[in-house]
């Protein structure tokens, strides 16, 4: 039965169900339980924003708090994965990836290929992404393109509670390392989610809105900005089609290409910085593979190529808005090849 739950609850439920189903699933991270070694409440935090709260009561020591040593514990999760466990390691903010990046891109990402196919590394690394929390330059980045660039890693960034549950379950069952990106501004976002366990396959984009006039490709929070833009454009008689990529690696270019072939126009929306972004990658792929279908130049909507600023008005200007998406759609509709 489906009921309305938040993205945060969807993550908690996916972890709970997978831990119950498979004894090789363990969770680790900083304060994912909380209160370790102290005299107060155990499970005091359940993660910095309470996402894993309550799991300790059900699964006990299969959830492990860690010292503040990301290289060591993220690396340990990877090593355990290579030895038959299915660890889900939480890295809190994706920005902290800088501390332990070697373990991810030289170790986890490489094992399978470099060892001639003899290794599996079924590790999931969960981390919060995105701006809007007034958390400044070191706690607000997307960094999704950084991981997408590296062969051997899968990258997921869901936009709804339904997708979050299904994709996290898939991530845990998947035999490759997965970076699971949770947009911190979507944690409270609610949607219909079935109670029963289900997996959503990777590499399947979701057409969240049908439209004839232009294709808007987005992921994460930007899907919601695109939906807002669609509502205002519809009043002007413009119908956009919105493709939610859901997984960035693997990426479902077929769905994107089909849509662009239909609409002839493409706007790529990305909350990551523009250089070498997902938006730039999708734009390049479409230009290479569907140039003939394009009736106008491709548009990209991204933040400026600057770090995330702290001050609220600056941060609000930084994050791509629905108005910017709508403007880009209007621009591509005006532009045309003759």
């Amino acid at each position: 039965m489906a009921r309305k739950i938040s993205m945060k609850q969807a993550i908690n439920e996916a972890l709970d169900q997978e831990m119950a189903r498979d004894p090789s699933v363990i969770c680790m991270g900083e304060d994912i339980v909380g209160g370790a070694g102290g005299e107060g409440e155990r499970d005091a935090w359940g993660g910095v924003l309470g996402v894993t709260k309550g799991l300790y009561a059900k699964h006990g020591d299969r959830l492990m708090d860690t010292p503040l040593s990301e290289s060591a514990y993220i690396g340990a999760a990877i090593g355990a994965a290579a030895c038959g466990m299915r660890p889900v390691a939480e890295l809190m903010f994706i920005d902290f990836m800088g501390v332990c990046f070697d373990q991810i891109f030289n170790q986890a990402a490489k094992f399978k290929y470099m060892f001639g196919g003899k290794a599996e590394t079924p590790v999931v690394i969960r981390a919060m992404v995105g701006a809007g929390f007034r958390a400044a330059a070191q706690h607000s980045q997307m960094l999704t393109p950084l991981f997408t660039h590296i062969p051997g890693i899968k990258v997921v960034c869901p936009s709804t509670p339904y997708d979050t549950k299904g994709l996290l379950i898939q991530a845990i069952r998947d035999n490759d390392p997965v970076i699971f990106c949770e947009h911190k501004n979507l944690y409270g976002f609610e949607g219909e989610v079935p109670e029963a366990s289900y997996a959503i396959p990777f590499g399947e984009a979701n057409v969240v809105r049908d439209g004839r006039d232009a294709t808007v490709v987005a992921y994460g929070l930007m899907v919601h900005r695109a939906l807002e833009a669609a509502a205002s454009l519809a009043k002007e008689g413009i119908e956009i089609e919105i493709v939610d990529l859901r997984t960035l690696s693997p990426i479902d270019m077929d769905t994107v290409l089909d849509s662009v072939t239909k609409t002839g126009r493409l706007v790529c929306v990305d909350e990551a910085n523009p250089r070498c972004s997902i938006a730039a990658d999708v734009s390049a792929q479409v230009a290479m593979r569907a140039f003939g279908a394009l009736k106008a130049g491709i548009e990209m909507v991204t933040p400026p190529h600057v770090p995330v600023p702290f001050s609220p008005p600056l941060e609000d200007l930084y994050i791509p808005s629905a108005a910017q998406v709508a403007a880009a759609v209007r621009k591509t509709l005006k532009g045309g090849r003759h």
Binding site: E30, G38, S69, A137, V306, F310, P312, L314
Partner: protein
């Protein structure tokens, strides 16, 4: 009146008290303003830990560098960063220490030798090795100090830096601010050794542990290791055992604390109360001489808040300055 038994003049003692009191008022005010929803973002308060910042920074000049942590307000104030600019920054206003771009977690003032609060645990330690290396080249006897929490003392960056500083014999000092917790996790869960002195020894550094709520204990220990570093004697580690008065960050319910723990901390381990008791008991400074400092510190903070609230916000033009943007 009896002679002054302290290693500082009366004027210096009053200055130290003013520093600690200013930090306390600053933090307690932020606690209230954050609760009201006036302050955006993450705010980590230094209240309760003032004696460490004051007892160490009193030995330093602008040419000495420090690298701070996410809990950086006290380090900033003690290092001489302008309180008004700090408040503007925390409120995200134009004219703030970082022009509103950094916020509480990134206040910096290089002109005061303050290399920044930091959102990344352990990140300051390697930077301090660099600052110490530069100081060694300049040969002016300057030192560099890295602050790190008990939790962040488990970062590879911190541990690598201990070794690097020892190997290069740098004028670097590593201050572990041990407030018993890393977020909600107790120090004893996260750190395997009982003593940071043992850990320092493992890296070939002298280490010392002091009661970080006792200004004079910090002052004396810091004075000695800073002097040694200035004279080419190399790096040291200083552990300050301390308490934090508030949650890890504002909004933390602190259910991980034991029953009565916070009351005990505030009643029996308040570094400001201790300092006042010590100097008045010795007859060096009277309560009447401290009271105006309390009032002045409060006034400075209130003025800073009023100005921060009235100040203009940054505008779109500020979004793309201070960085190379190629498109």
């Amino acid at each position: 009146m009896a002679g002054n038994p302290f290693p500082l003049s009366k004027a210096e003692l009053l200055k130290a008290y003013r520093t600690m009191r200013t930090i306390r008022e600053f933090e307690e005010r932020l606690h209230v303003d954050f609760g009201r929803g006036d302050i955006p973002g993450f705010v980590h308060l230094y209240a309760g830990e003032e004696a460490a910042a004051a007892g160490i920074m009193i030995h330093l000049g602008d040419g000495d560098r420090i690298a701070s942590t996410h809990r950086g307000h006290g380090h900033c104030i003690a290092k001489g960063v302008d309180v008004g600019e700090m408040m503007l920054e925390i409120y995200g206003k134009k004219g703030g220490s970082c022009n509103g771009k950094g916020g509480s977690m990134h206040i910096a003032d290089l002109s005061k030798g303050m290399m920044g609060a930091n959102g990344i645990l352990g990140a300051g330690a390697p930077l301090v090795c660099g600052a110490a290396l530069a100081a060694k080249y300049r040969k002016k006897g300057e030192v560099a100090i890295s602050f790190v929490g008990d939790g962040a003392s488990n970062q590879g960056t911190f541990l690598e830096s201990l070794n690097l500083a020892a190997v290069w014999n740098l004028p670097a000092i590593f201050v572990v601010e041990n407030n018993g917790y890393a977020e909600s996790t107790s120090r004893d869960y996260g750190v395997a050794v009982d003593s940071y002195v043992d850990r320092a020894a493992g890296f070939g550094l002298p280490g010392i542990t002091v009661d970080g709520t006792d200004f004079f204990a910090v002052y004396e220990a810091a004075g000695e290791i800073i002097r040694r570093a200035r004279e080419g004697g190399g790096p040291s580690l200083l552990e300050c055992k301390m308490v934090r008065f508030h949650g890890h960050f504002e909004g933390d319910a602190q259910t991980y604390r034991g029953p009565g723990e916070l009351d005990d901390i505030r009643a029996n381990h308040d570094c400001l109360k201790k300092f006042a008791a010590q100097v008045t008991a010795a007859g060096v400074i009277s309560a009447d001489e401290l009271a105006p400092i309390d009032r002045e510190a409060l006034a400075v903070v209130e003025d800073a808040v009023a100005r921060a609230k009235a100040a203009p916000l940054p505008t779109v033009a500020d979004l793309t300055t201070d960085v190379y943007v190629s498109y």
